[in-house]
Symmetry: C2
């Protein structure tokens, strides 16, 4: 197959998949800057997706690489309840990359972009030692609401004691919890390559082509504007599980402090400090996905460990006041894309995270995934 | 010196240099998304800055790497006359990177960010084989003007026949044209390392720490709102010279078609098609920077070749109706940061680019810089 040998060639491959015109664009790619009509406030997320770090071409198809690079960014907007409206792509292109492969990668990305009506508005292309994508995606925080009243409502507080902890993910035939599924996908794909898909189809799909839970996040953020929601302010919080439950759950529990540290400008009324909050996880090994328990057959603790620490998971981890759960379920069914809702447990006043009463630190050694751990 | 060994360590180095709070931010970095109050229209630019491709640590200081990574992105906003309001940083961190080096890189970047009152609002960090930065920067297209009337005015057309072609760059003591200066900087730094700075201080500075011409670009775009500017609509166009004059000038001359191809939504009234436009360059070898002519002493054609093809140049290449030049000079002096304005020549009806009547193709072989040229 012909190799990529010019920037113009890459640009024409891009043009074949990504239209340059879009009603929201004033000036698309090809000039110094792109210009577009913007919502305010605007949510923005930017992520790296690098070969050998985040994916391997040995078991990702080109389409899956393109799809997932965009999907993981959209997942961040989903967690903020935002409405994506555009993205930019920076591409690091290794020597002798097959141009048909690159065209297929753009095709996979463009399919998701079309699904979300998302124009590619610019970016950069450079040669480099290994393949890498850096995508920045942005969107309005809330459809049809702007100004200081709109922003951050979805993020206005961390969890509170008694809140229900749950996951929103894609439906699956077993109504099983997806925790650990992408980590299993990684393990079996690394071991067996794409042959693993035969025995572990959903685990591999969770790793290769995760679904960003945009409709669910948007439905959650829209709830806060509903008259039926009156009561505790903003009794919702969501984040995606890219680093795994054991690392991301403390962030959710400490959400309010974290948001203040991050420069949040909203007032802390009705927010208690969450420094001492903990969580009691009530799901059982039986709730885990059958592919996960089959892989760890007879080794329940291994399955549980993978469920508690596995990252690269793009279900939304959420906390909500228990009396609001019925209303929330109804809304998700009506306009949230009817995601699977898996109850994980409750927010507790007692510090620390416990699974079935056992401290997580006693179940799992180590501190979770870090790119730079030595 | 200690090596970087955790993501948290990198985050605390970032926190030391980049404040998390800013009046424009609703939610800064640390959550899934950043959220900020946005202008509309919004201009956005995203660029890669990769070791061994765009810089070398052998002759860039850490501060210069951090500074330039942000500066080249700001230059794109400058060319659009935009007002930067935030940026995100994606960092690819190689094994065993010295943490003091990384802290100094953040310091260099933060100095420029402070100068522009620009919050760092998010991004991503990953391990990788070699050091890389991917920055996305955004800002309002025009201060205090928003809605469909504001956008793109600065970009509304390409050049027209008879327009004056000129460069806006930093002042220098010789009032010399900066064309080719960064290319010379690259050549001598590659040859002699930082020892080259002694003999070629301005050439090295042009490569190591280019100034984004933000005030000049903003003053130019603000001109279009002035009563004194009435007449031809939008008789201005600017771009930066990152790929060199011989590649970028045809883009300026073909600007209108290019903008339409890029998805521009404005109407083509008063815009003639520029397919047949050319340029007559009138500057002489004597106008070039003394460091450039000294390096190529006795070899005028070499100096000229470097001036015509050298890239990585962040002066703004502009075209303006001749009768508006006085007003433009006055505005630039008053509120454009008083840049050096170097006349390069005129836009001609005759196709092709000529220097002193000689076709560029006859002076220079090849087609200019391409990362993927084979």
């Amino acid at each position: 197959m012909p190799k990529v040998n010019s920037e113009d060639q890459i640009l024409s491959l891009l043009d074949a998949e990504f239209p340059r015109r879009h009603p929201g664009l004033i000036l698309g790619r090809g000039d110094d800057c792109a210009e577009f009509f913007s919502a305010s406030p605007l949510a923005v997320s930017s992520d790296l997706f690098l070969e050998h770090i985040h994916f391997r071409r040995s078991y990702f198809t080109a389409e899956e690489v393109g799809y997932k690079a965009l999907a993981v960014n959209l997942s961040d907007l989903a967690a903020a309840g935002a409405y994506p409206s555009g993205f930019s792509l920076n591409l690091i292109c290794p020597p002798a990359l097959d141009s048909a492969w690159l065209a297929a990668m753009f095709k996979g990305m463009a399919a998701l972009a079309r699904e979300c009506d998302l124009p590619l508005v610019g970016g950069d292309i450079s040669a480099g030692a290994s393949l890498g994508l850096c995508i920045t995606v942005w969107g309005g925080s809330r459809a049809g609401v702007s100004g200081p009243e709109a922003p951050g409502a979805f993020l206005r507080r961390g969890a509170q004691e008694g809140d229900v902890l749950f996951l929103l993910g894609p439906q699956n035939p077993w109504d099983a919890c997806s925790l650990g599924l992408a980590a299993l996908g990684l393990e079996v794909l690394e071991k067996y390559g794409r042959a693993a898909i035969k025995d572990y189809p959903e685990a591999c799909a969770a790793l290769l082509s995760p679904k960003p839970m945009l409709s669910a996040g948007q439905a959650m953020s829209s709830l806060l504007l509903e008259p039926g929601w009156a009561g505790r302010p903003a009794p919702l919080k969501a984040m995606d599980l890219s680093d795994g439950l054991r690392r991301d759950l403390p962030r959710l529990l400490g959400g309010f402090q974290q948001q203040l540290a991050a420069g949040a400008v909203f007032a802390p009324e009705n927010c208690r400090t969450a420094a001492s909050l903990g969580a009691g996880l009530t799901f059982t090994v039986e709730n885990l996905h059958p592919e996960l328990t089959a892989y760890h057959a007879g080794l329940e603790q291994k399955a549980l460990g993978m469920a508690l620490s596995g990252g690269d998971e793009y279900a939304l981890l959420c906390a909500c006041a228990p009396e609001k759960m019925d209303f929330l379920r109804k809304t998700l069914a009506e306009r949230g894309g009817a995601p699977a809702l898996q109850i994980l447990g409750l927010v507790t006043e007692r510090e620390g995270i416990r699974w079935q009463g056992i401290r997580l630190a006693d179940i799992l050694p180590g501190t979770g995934f870090d790119h730079f751990e030595v």
